[in-house]
Symmetry: C2
Subunit: 189 residues, 2 copies
Amino acid sequence: MKISIFGHGNMGKAIGENFTKAGNEVEFIGHDSAADAFGEIVILAVPYSSITDIIGKYADKLANKLVVDITNPVDFASFDSLVVPADSSAAAEIAAKLPNSIVAKAFNTNFAATLTSKKVANKETTTVLIASDDNDAKTKFISALSGSGLKVINTGGLKRARELEAAGFLAMTLAASEQIGWDGGLTVL
Amino acid sequence: MKISIFGHGNMGKAIGENFTKAGNEVEFIGHDSAADAFGEIVILAVPYSSITDIIGKYADKLANKLVVDITNPVDFASFDSLVVPADSSAAAEIAAKLPNSIVAKAFNTNFAATLTSKKVANKETTTVLIASDDNDAKTKFISALSGSGLKVINTGGLKRARELEAAGFLAMTLAASEQIGWDGGLTVL
Protein backbone atom coordinates (compact mmCIF):
# COMPACT_ATOMS: atom_id res chain seq x y z
CA MET A 1 0.00 0.00 0.00
CA LYS A 2 1.19 3.56 -0.60
CA ILE A 3 1.26 5.78 2.47
CA SER A 4 1.69 9.54 2.12
CA ILE A 5 2.96 11.43 5.15
CA PHE A 6 2.79 15.18 5.68
CA GLY A 7 5.58 16.15 8.06
CA HIS A 8 9.07 14.77 8.49
CA GLY A 9 9.64 15.44 12.19
CA ASN A 10 10.15 12.84 14.91
CA MET A 11 6.61 11.56 14.63
CA GLY A 12 6.41 11.52 10.83
CA LYS A 13 9.72 9.70 10.52
CA ALA A 14 8.88 7.14 13.21
CA ILE A 15 5.46 6.47 11.67
CA GLY A 16 7.01 6.17 8.21
CA GLU A 17 9.57 3.62 9.43
CA ASN A 18 6.77 1.46 10.80
CA PHE A 19 4.77 1.50 7.57
CA THR A 20 7.94 0.77 5.59
CA LYS A 21 8.85 -2.12 7.88
CA ALA A 22 5.36 -3.51 7.41
CA GLY A 23 5.97 -3.63 3.63
CA ASN A 24 4.29 -0.44 2.43
CA GLU A 25 5.63 2.26 0.10
CA VAL A 26 6.05 5.51 2.07
CA GLU A 27 6.33 9.00 0.58
CA PHE A 28 6.85 12.20 2.55
CA ILE A 29 5.07 15.35 1.39
CA GLY A 30 7.09 18.50 2.05
CA HIS A 31 6.31 22.15 1.51
CA ASP A 32 7.75 21.99 -1.99
CA SER A 33 6.45 18.59 -3.02
CA ALA A 34 4.38 18.29 -6.14
CA ALA A 35 2.04 15.84 -4.39
CA ASP A 36 0.14 14.69 -7.43
CA ALA A 37 -1.54 11.57 -6.21
CA PHE A 38 -1.60 10.54 -2.58
CA GLY A 39 -1.57 6.98 -1.30
CA GLU A 40 -4.65 5.26 0.08
CA ILE A 41 -3.62 6.34 3.58
CA VAL A 42 -2.49 9.90 4.26
CA ILE A 43 -0.93 10.73 7.64
CA LEU A 44 -1.08 14.32 8.88
CA ALA A 45 2.07 14.31 11.03
CA VAL A 46 2.22 18.08 11.45
CA PRO A 47 1.20 20.38 14.30
CA TYR A 48 -2.54 21.00 14.58
CA SER A 49 -1.97 24.65 13.67
CA SER A 50 -0.65 23.60 10.25
CA ILE A 51 -3.58 21.45 9.25
CA THR A 52 -5.92 24.18 8.04
CA ASP A 53 -3.34 25.15 5.40
CA ILE A 54 -2.94 21.57 4.23
CA ILE A 55 -6.69 21.13 3.93
CA GLY A 56 -7.00 24.43 2.08
CA LYS A 57 -4.40 23.32 -0.44
CA TYR A 58 -5.18 19.63 -0.84
CA ALA A 59 -8.83 18.95 0.16
CA ASP A 60 -9.70 17.72 -3.35
CA LYS A 61 -6.78 15.33 -3.51
CA LEU A 62 -7.62 13.98 -0.07
CA ALA A 63 -11.10 12.91 -1.22
CA ASN A 64 -11.77 9.19 -0.66
CA LYS A 65 -8.47 8.78 1.19
CA LEU A 66 -8.08 7.58 4.74
CA VAL A 67 -6.73 10.72 6.40
CA VAL A 68 -5.11 10.02 9.77
CA ASP A 69 -4.90 12.87 12.28
CA ILE A 70 -2.15 12.30 14.86
CA THR A 71 -2.26 15.72 16.51
CA ASN A 72 -2.47 16.70 20.17
CA PRO A 73 -4.05 20.16 19.90
CA VAL A 74 -2.43 21.44 23.07
CA ASP A 75 -2.49 25.12 24.01
CA PHE A 76 1.29 25.39 24.25
CA ALA A 77 1.10 28.85 25.82
CA SER A 78 -0.55 27.54 28.99
CA PHE A 79 0.10 23.79 28.61
CA ASP A 80 -3.12 23.51 30.62
CA SER A 81 -5.82 22.87 28.02
CA LEU A 82 -6.53 21.99 24.40
CA VAL A 83 -7.31 24.58 21.72
CA VAL A 84 -10.29 22.67 20.30
CA PRO A 85 -13.81 23.07 21.77
CA ALA A 86 -14.33 20.87 24.84
CA ASP A 87 -17.18 18.95 23.22
CA SER A 88 -15.20 18.34 20.02
CA SER A 89 -11.73 17.13 19.03
CA ALA A 90 -9.06 17.98 16.50
CA ALA A 91 -10.13 14.92 14.53
CA ALA A 92 -13.78 16.01 14.51
CA GLU A 93 -12.79 19.51 13.37
CA ILE A 94 -10.72 18.02 10.55
CA ALA A 95 -13.49 15.62 9.56
CA ALA A 96 -15.92 18.56 9.30
CA LYS A 97 -13.53 20.24 6.85
CA LEU A 98 -12.96 17.06 4.82
CA PRO A 99 -16.46 15.70 4.17
CA ASN A 100 -15.26 13.61 1.23
CA SER A 101 -12.42 11.93 3.12
CA ILE A 102 -12.45 9.20 5.74
CA VAL A 103 -10.88 10.62 8.89
CA ALA A 104 -9.26 8.60 11.66
CA LYS A 105 -7.44 9.51 14.85
CA ALA A 106 -4.34 7.47 15.65
CA PHE A 107 -0.79 7.69 17.00
CA ASN A 108 -1.54 10.75 19.20
CA THR A 109 -1.21 8.71 22.41
CA ASN A 110 2.24 7.43 21.35
CA PHE A 111 5.48 9.32 21.91
CA ALA A 112 7.82 9.15 18.91
CA ALA A 113 10.53 7.20 20.74
CA THR A 114 8.08 4.41 21.54
CA LEU A 115 7.10 4.10 17.87
CA THR A 116 10.75 3.62 16.99
CA SER A 117 11.63 1.19 19.80
CA LYS A 118 8.20 -0.58 19.72
CA LYS A 119 8.34 -0.51 23.51
CA VAL A 120 6.86 1.81 26.12
CA ALA A 121 9.48 2.54 28.79
CA ASN A 122 11.43 -0.46 27.46
CA LYS A 123 8.77 -2.73 28.94
CA GLU A 124 5.53 -3.21 27.06
CA THR A 125 4.75 -3.39 23.34
CA THR A 126 3.79 0.00 21.94
CA THR A 127 0.06 0.06 21.21
CA VAL A 128 -1.49 2.43 18.69
CA LEU A 129 -5.07 3.46 19.49
CA ILE A 130 -7.26 4.26 16.49
CA ALA A 131 -10.74 5.80 16.27
CA SER A 132 -12.81 6.22 13.11
CA ASP A 133 -16.43 5.90 12.02
CA ASP A 134 -15.36 3.73 9.06
CA ASN A 135 -14.71 0.11 9.98
CA ASP A 136 -13.20 -0.80 6.61
CA ALA A 137 -10.72 2.03 6.98
CA LYS A 138 -9.68 0.79 10.41
CA THR A 139 -9.23 -2.72 9.04
CA LYS A 140 -7.05 -1.28 6.25
CA PHE A 141 -4.97 0.70 8.75
CA ILE A 142 -4.46 -2.31 11.01
CA SER A 143 -3.52 -4.42 8.01
CA ALA A 144 -1.04 -1.81 6.74
CA LEU A 145 0.77 -1.82 10.10
CA SER A 146 0.79 -5.61 10.41
CA GLY A 147 4.41 -6.71 10.66
CA SER A 148 5.64 -3.37 12.00
CA GLY A 149 5.96 -4.67 15.55
CA LEU A 150 3.31 -2.27 16.85
CA LYS A 151 0.02 -3.42 18.32
CA VAL A 152 -3.14 -1.61 17.19
CA ILE A 153 -6.41 -1.38 19.13
CA ASN A 154 -9.69 -0.15 17.64
CA THR A 155 -11.21 2.20 20.22
CA GLY A 156 -14.47 2.79 18.31
CA GLY A 157 -15.97 5.66 16.35
CA LEU A 158 -14.39 9.06 15.72
CA LYS A 159 -16.20 10.38 18.80
CA ARG A 160 -13.56 8.55 20.87
CA ALA A 161 -10.95 10.98 19.47
CA ARG A 162 -11.96 13.27 22.31
CA GLU A 163 -10.81 10.72 24.88
CA LEU A 164 -7.71 9.86 22.84
CA GLU A 165 -6.76 13.55 22.74
CA ALA A 166 -7.32 13.85 26.49
CA ALA A 167 -5.11 10.79 27.03
CA GLY A 168 -2.41 12.15 24.71
CA PHE A 169 -2.46 15.53 26.46
CA LEU A 170 -2.32 13.84 29.90
CA ALA A 171 0.72 11.82 28.86
CA MET A 172 2.42 14.97 27.55
CA THR A 173 1.83 16.81 30.84
CA LEU A 174 3.33 13.88 32.78
CA ALA A 175 6.40 13.80 30.55
CA ALA A 176 6.79 17.60 30.58
CA SER A 177 6.69 17.53 34.40
CA GLU A 178 9.28 14.72 34.36
CA GLN A 179 7.04 12.20 36.10
CA ILE A 180 7.51 9.83 33.16
CA GLY A 181 10.04 9.75 30.35
CA TRP A 182 9.44 10.63 26.70
CA ASP A 183 10.22 6.95 26.07
CA GLY A 184 7.21 6.07 28.26
CA GLY A 185 3.60 7.14 28.19
CA LEU A 186 0.08 5.96 28.77
CA THR A 187 -0.44 2.46 27.49
CA VAL A 188 -3.16 -0.16 27.35
CA LEU A 189 -2.60 -3.52 29.02
CA MET B 1 -4.71 8.21 59.65
CA LYS B 2 -8.44 7.56 59.63
CA ILE B 3 -9.99 7.04 56.20
CA SER B 4 -13.78 7.12 55.76
CA ILE B 5 -15.19 5.39 52.70
CA PHE B 6 -18.67 5.84 51.30
CA GLY B 7 -19.59 2.72 49.37
CA HIS B 8 -18.70 -0.90 49.96
CA GLY B 9 -18.71 -2.23 46.40
CA ASN B 10 -15.72 -3.65 44.52
CA MET B 11 -13.99 -0.28 44.36
CA GLY B 12 -14.67 0.78 47.96
CA LYS B 13 -13.50 -2.56 49.32
CA ALA B 14 -10.34 -2.64 47.18
CA ILE B 15 -9.48 0.95 48.12
CA GLY B 16 -10.11 0.21 51.80
CA GLU B 17 -7.82 -2.82 51.70
CA ASN B 18 -5.02 -0.66 50.35
CA PHE B 19 -5.37 2.02 53.01
CA THR B 20 -5.55 -0.67 55.71
CA LYS B 21 -2.46 -2.40 54.37
CA ALA B 22 -0.64 0.94 54.45
CA GLY B 23 -1.39 1.21 58.18
CA ASN B 24 -4.45 3.43 58.28
CA GLU B 25 -7.74 2.96 60.12
CA VAL B 26 -10.55 2.47 57.60
CA GLU B 27 -14.27 2.90 58.27
CA PHE B 28 -17.06 2.31 55.77
CA ILE B 29 -20.06 4.64 55.83
CA GLY B 30 -23.28 2.87 54.88
CA HIS B 31 -26.80 4.15 54.42
CA ASP B 32 -27.57 3.53 58.10
CA SER B 33 -24.26 4.66 59.56
CA ALA B 34 -24.27 7.33 62.20
CA ALA B 35 -21.21 8.98 60.59
CA ASP B 36 -20.42 11.37 63.40
CA ALA B 37 -16.87 12.38 62.58
CA PHE B 38 -15.16 11.50 59.34
CA GLY B 39 -11.47 10.77 58.94
CA GLU B 40 -9.05 13.24 57.40
CA ILE B 41 -9.56 11.56 54.03
CA VAL B 42 -13.04 10.70 52.79
CA ILE B 43 -13.41 8.51 49.71
CA LEU B 44 -16.61 8.77 47.67
CA ALA B 45 -16.66 5.22 46.25
CA VAL B 46 -20.24 5.38 45.03
CA PRO B 47 -21.74 5.96 41.56
CA TYR B 48 -21.69 9.58 40.41
CA SER B 49 -25.51 9.64 40.55
CA SER B 50 -25.40 9.01 44.33
CA ILE B 51 -23.06 11.85 45.18
CA THR B 52 -25.58 14.70 45.24
CA ASP B 53 -27.46 12.92 48.04
CA ILE B 54 -24.27 12.41 50.06
CA ILE B 55 -23.33 16.06 49.70
CA GLY B 56 -26.83 17.13 50.65
CA LYS B 57 -26.67 15.08 53.81
CA TYR B 58 -23.05 15.53 54.89
CA ALA B 59 -21.63 18.76 53.38
CA ASP B 60 -21.02 20.28 56.84
CA LYS B 61 -19.18 17.21 58.13
CA LEU B 62 -17.06 17.09 54.97
CA ALA B 63 -15.69 20.61 55.62
CA ASN B 64 -11.89 20.72 55.82
CA LYS B 65 -11.65 17.05 54.79
CA LEU B 66 -9.82 15.74 51.75
CA VAL B 67 -12.75 14.40 49.71
CA VAL B 68 -11.64 11.99 46.99
CA ASP B 69 -13.93 11.52 43.99
CA ILE B 70 -13.31 8.20 42.23
CA THR B 71 -16.26 8.30 39.83
CA ASN B 72 -16.44 7.78 36.10
CA PRO B 73 -19.58 9.76 35.24
CA VAL B 74 -20.45 7.59 32.23
CA ASP B 75 -23.82 7.85 30.49
CA PHE B 76 -24.60 4.16 30.96
CA ALA B 77 -27.64 4.35 28.64
CA SER B 78 -25.46 5.09 25.59
CA PHE B 79 -22.01 4.15 26.93
CA ASP B 80 -20.84 6.76 24.45
CA SER B 81 -20.31 9.89 26.53
CA LEU B 82 -20.08 11.31 30.03
CA VAL B 83 -23.00 12.96 31.83
CA VAL B 84 -20.98 15.97 33.04
CA PRO B 85 -20.53 19.08 30.84
CA ALA B 86 -17.70 18.64 28.32
CA ASP B 87 -15.73 21.57 29.74
CA SER B 88 -16.08 20.31 33.32
CA SER B 89 -15.64 17.04 35.22
CA ALA B 90 -17.40 15.12 37.97
CA ALA B 91 -14.66 16.28 40.34
CA ALA B 92 -15.15 19.94 39.38
CA GLU B 93 -18.92 19.63 39.86
CA ILE B 94 -18.37 18.09 43.29
CA ALA B 95 -15.81 20.76 44.24
CA ALA B 96 -18.32 23.48 43.34
CA LYS B 97 -20.81 21.91 45.76
CA LEU B 98 -18.24 21.49 48.55
CA PRO B 99 -16.49 24.89 48.77
CA ASN B 100 -15.25 24.15 52.30
CA SER B 101 -13.69 20.78 51.43
CA ILE B 102 -10.52 19.91 49.56
CA VAL B 103 -11.51 17.84 46.54
CA ALA B 104 -9.25 15.42 44.69
CA LYS B 105 -9.78 13.04 41.80
CA ALA B 106 -8.13 9.63 42.13
CA PHE B 107 -8.61 5.90 41.50
CA ASN B 108 -11.01 6.46 38.57
CA THR B 109 -8.47 5.18 36.03
CA ASN B 110 -7.96 1.96 38.02
CA PHE B 111 -10.17 -1.10 37.71
CA ALA B 112 -10.99 -2.69 41.08
CA ALA B 113 -9.16 -5.96 40.32
CA THR B 114 -5.91 -4.06 39.71
CA LEU B 115 -6.19 -2.30 43.08
CA THR B 116 -6.48 -5.70 44.77
CA SER B 117 -3.70 -7.45 42.82
CA LYS B 118 -1.47 -4.31 42.60
CA LYS B 119 -0.80 -5.30 39.00
CA VAL B 120 -2.30 -4.19 35.69
CA ALA B 121 -2.87 -7.26 33.50
CA ASN B 122 -0.56 -9.18 35.85
CA LYS B 123 2.35 -7.20 34.42
CA GLU B 124 2.95 -3.68 35.68
CA THR B 125 2.51 -2.10 39.11
CA THR B 126 -0.90 -0.49 39.48
CA THR B 127 -0.53 3.29 39.41
CA VAL B 128 -3.08 5.63 40.96
CA LEU B 129 -3.37 9.02 39.24
CA ILE B 130 -4.40 11.92 41.48
CA ALA B 131 -5.39 15.50 40.65
CA SER B 132 -6.10 18.28 43.15
CA ASP B 133 -5.44 21.98 43.55
CA ASP B 134 -4.10 21.39 47.07
CA ASN B 135 -0.52 20.16 47.15
CA ASP B 136 -0.56 19.37 50.89
CA ALA B 137 -3.61 17.18 50.37
CA LYS B 138 -1.87 15.27 47.59
CA THR B 139 1.18 14.76 49.80
CA LYS B 140 -1.11 13.45 52.56
CA PHE B 141 -2.85 11.08 50.13
CA ILE B 142 0.43 9.74 48.78
CA SER B 143 1.72 9.29 52.31
CA ALA B 144 -1.43 7.46 53.41
CA LEU B 145 -1.03 4.95 50.56
CA SER B 146 2.69 4.44 51.15
CA GLY B 147 3.23 0.77 51.89
CA SER B 148 0.08 -0.37 50.09
CA GLY B 149 2.00 -1.61 47.07
CA LEU B 150 0.36 0.89 44.75
CA LYS B 151 2.26 3.62 42.93
CA VAL B 152 0.78 7.14 42.98
CA ILE B 153 1.45 9.88 40.43
CA ASN B 154 0.46 13.51 40.92
CA THR B 155 -1.05 14.67 37.61
CA GLY B 156 -1.49 18.30 38.64
CA GLY B 157 -4.43 20.52 39.55
CA LEU B 158 -8.08 19.50 39.70
CA LYS B 159 -8.47 20.70 36.11
CA ARG B 160 -6.71 17.46 35.08
CA ALA B 161 -9.74 15.53 36.37
CA ARG B 162 -11.22 16.11 32.93
CA GLU B 163 -8.41 14.13 31.30
CA LEU B 164 -8.47 11.50 34.07
CA GLU B 165 -12.20 11.01 33.51
CA ALA B 166 -11.67 10.73 29.76
CA ALA B 167 -8.94 8.13 30.38
CA GLY B 168 -11.15 6.19 32.81
CA PHE B 169 -14.04 6.22 30.36
CA LEU B 170 -11.76 5.12 27.50
CA ALA B 171 -10.47 2.19 29.57
CA MET B 172 -14.05 1.18 30.43
CA THR B 173 -15.09 1.20 26.75
CA LEU B 174 -12.11 -1.00 25.88
CA ALA B 175 -12.95 -3.48 28.64
CA ALA B 176 -16.67 -3.44 27.82
CA SER B 177 -15.82 -4.22 24.19
CA GLU B 178 -13.51 -7.02 25.38
CA GLN B 179 -10.39 -5.52 23.85
CA ILE B 180 -8.75 -5.56 27.28
CA GLY B 181 -9.63 -7.39 30.48
CA TRP B 182 -11.11 -5.87 33.64
CA ASP B 183 -7.81 -6.89 35.24
CA GLY B 184 -6.04 -4.57 32.76
CA GLY B 185 -6.53 -0.94 31.86
CA LEU B 186 -4.73 2.20 30.86
CA THR B 187 -1.52 2.63 32.76
CA VAL B 188 1.40 5.01 32.95
CA LEU B 189 4.92 3.71 32.26
